[in-house]
């Protein structure tokens, strides 16, 4: 972990603090009110606010998680530096692609 990765990870962490708090509230609200897929999608479809919210969330997570994965692999596995970087980058791309697809799936009208 060097200063560049550290700054990226801590900054995305700080960004996600309020996002996670809201997301937890949304989860609890939705489950408590027994929202169906139709109910959820009715609220998210065409919503710029949800698009921005979850769009930022996905990008931040796609940066934050791979850096953590990289640290864990460096310390707990016997893989070399290049393999670790490759796996972490791959994980980031996977999260970004699947995440933005998911956001599109629920906000596009």
């Amino acid at each position: 972990m060097n200063v560049r990765l550290y700054a990226a990870q801590r900054l995305t962490a700080a960004v996600m603090v309020p996002l996670v708090a809201v997301h937890l509230a949304v989860i609890i609200y939705a489950t408590n009110h027994g929202l169906t897929a139709a109910d959820v999608l009715a609220r998210t479809r065409g919503s710029v606010a949800w698009a921005v919210f979850y769009g930022i969330f996905v990008v931040a997570a796609a940066i934050h998680a791979p850096i953590g994965i990289r640290t864990v692999l460096t310390e707990w596995s016997r893989l070399g530096g290049r393999s670790v970087d490759a796996i972490a980058t791959g994980a980031g791309l996977l999260l970004l692609v699947l995440g933005l697809r998911a956001v599109a799936a629920v906000v596009l009208p």
Partner: protein, 240 residues
């Protein structure tokens, strides 16, 4: 519980085993007394390290019942569970023989962290006036008593998991110099601790603080380095 202590000592190098000895129990006895007794009365081939015997030099640090500590300052009555002791060399360092480790990696990392003072003045210049109650001096004073005994380094799992990690003592030392207004090597020092294996490899386990015989807090020093180096990076004073 008989009159004797059952003492297991590590014998060998990286490969080796614990060998058990019977040592007479005494009223007031430190772990260092026990090790010395074995070497003088039972097995003169036992290798171990000590110097001052009074808790000032840090040379006698070993792993006692799983915990790194100064053996001269550890009373047997406090740590012997049912009259048993297991004593090994410090963790995270190469073993030379038995209870003596090679401290060179520890000292090399001190150099790598730029834990050395870089002066700016000569004896012909007036003495730098440093207020003892200035924030920087207080920060340095809180960390400066380190005698490099290696206990924190032995207790740290980040050291264990990451061979490049400079470790709590080296970074703590670097922090004292970051706070020394007379020092001129701060940019290089922050660059050194901002690199891979530097301060950002610390996960704040705080095992260092927990075990330091002088109650120092390397976690806090390292947090200060994290802030300082991040700021220097954002201001483009150092590169990643």
């Amino acid at each position: 519980m008989g009159p004797d202590l059952t003492v297991s000592l590590w014998r060998g190098g990286v490969e080796g085993r614990y060998q058990t000895y019977s040592v007479p129990k005494r009223e007031n006895q430190t772990v260092l007394d026990v090790v010395t007794w074995v070497q003088r009365n039972l097995d003169s081939s036992l290798a171990y390290r000590f110097a001052c015997r009074v808790g000032m030099c840090g040379s006698c640090a070993m792993t006692v019942n799983g915990r790194p500590r100064w053996t001269c300052r550890t009373h047997v009555s406090r740590v012997a569970e049912s009259g048993r002791l297991e004593i090994g060399p410090l963790e995270n360092l190469p073993v030379i023989k038995d209870l003596a480790t090679d401290m060179r990696p520890f000292f090399e990392k001190w150099q790598q962290a730029r834990g050395t003072f870089a002066p700016s003045k000569t004896r012909h210049d007036p003495i730098e006036t440093i207020r003892p109650d200035s924030a920087a001096r207080l920060a340095a004073a809180a960390a400066i008593e380190c005698i490099n005994c290696g206990v924190c380094y032995a207790a740290c799992d980040s050291v264990r998991w990451n061979e490049n990690y400079l470790g709590p003592a080296a970074l703590n030392r670097a922090w004292t110099l970051v706070n020394d207004v007379r020092d001129t090597a701060n940019v290089q020092r922050l660059a050194a601790v901002a690199a891979s294996g530097g301060c950002y490899a610390c996960h704040s386990h705080q095992s260092c603080q927990e075990h330091c015989p002088l109650s120092l807090n390397p976690t806090a020093s390292i947090a200060g380095l994290k802030r300082g180096a991040a700021l220097a990076f954002l201001k483009s004073e150092i590169e990643a």
